[in-house]
């Protein structure tokens, strides 16, 4: 194993990829700062009973999921179905607006479009499975 080869290739790759990371991190912080959590709260409530809309809301929601989990718990306690919560979480984890810059930069538009479509399908199916399971067990 030649260390200098590894370091040269690493430096080359790092310089090529890191600008995308800087832009992505900046945009995520910008969205986190300016997009009110209350707006997300309202959007999820509006989409009660619609797993597709919950997944899309999740996909479009920026920032780490960890900051939304307490809100989701509060909504669950107020009667929001677990299928909606599961669909939102799945959409939110699989795709975020920030990944658009990274994935199109690295792998092209086609790949990112596939990721979005797959996230949408996965979110809807996860929500549907939770709807079925919730009929026989409690979460």
């Amino acid at each position: 194993m030649n260390i200098s080869d590894i370091l040269i290739l690493s430096a080359h790759t790092f310089l090529k990829l890191f600008p995308f990371v800087i832009v992505a991190v900046f945009i995520s912080q910008l969205l986190k700062h300016y997009l009110a959590k209350k707006h997300i709260h309202t959007k999820i409530k509006e989409n009660t009973g619609n797993e597709a809309a919950a997944t899309i809301t999740g996909i479009l929601t920026p920032g780490p999921l960890i900051s939304y989990l307490p809100i989701l718990k509060e909504l669950k306690d107020r009667g929001l179905p677990v299928s909606i919560i599961a669909a939102f979480i799945t959409g939110q984890t699989l795709i975020g607006p920030v990944r658009l810059f990274l994935e199109t930069g690295y792998f092209g538009w086609q790949f990112f479009a596939f990721r979005v479509v797959s996230a949408l399908i996965i979110g809807i199916v996860v929500g549907f499975v939770f709807k079925l399971v919730a009929k026989v067990t409690q979460f």
Partner: protein, 134 residues
């Protein structure tokens, strides 16, 4: 705006060493994992390759955004787009221990496990479909 810049800088300070480490791992894969090995694995059994990539994404403690250099190196050594999709999607399902712990605490282990298992199966299926189309 100053707060946004401050948070961006703080995130970058945390992320850069991890990202660089991922780039080094990616470079090692690109330089030393022989392309025919990747090709033969994918050509012999694409479903196995996609399943392994999804599981690797789940298990490996790769931080956010650091999967991309590794995925790019795998692509360079002959991995398919389905494998890349499975690796990236698998990684985000169990992205952070803190997040997973909070999800389990608030919604229960049953909720978390069901979501993870169903997501994993669907990631493998969409990976296979991606391979068929792209």
């Amino acid at each position: 705006m100053p707060l946004v810049l401050k948070n961006t800088l703080s995130q970058l300070l945390f992320l850069t060493p991890l990202f660089y480490a991922a780039v080094v791992v990616g470079s090692i894969i690109e330089l030393y994992v022989p392309a025919p090995l990747t090709h033969s694995l994918i050509n012999s059994n694409p479903i196995l390759a996609i399943s392994l990539a999804a599981c690797a994404g789940l298990i490996l403690p790769i931080p956010r955004y650091a999967t991309y250099p590794i995925a790019l190196s795998l692509l360079a050594t002959g991995a398919s787009y389905g494998v890349i999709l499975a690796l990236i999607s698998g990684e985000v399902v169990f992205e952070s221990l803190a997040r997973d712990a909070l999800e389990i605490k608030l919604f229960g282990l049953k909720f978390f496990s069901l979501r993870a298992v169903v997501s994993l199966l669907l990631i493998i299926i969409t990976g296979v479909i991606t391979d068929l189309i792209l």
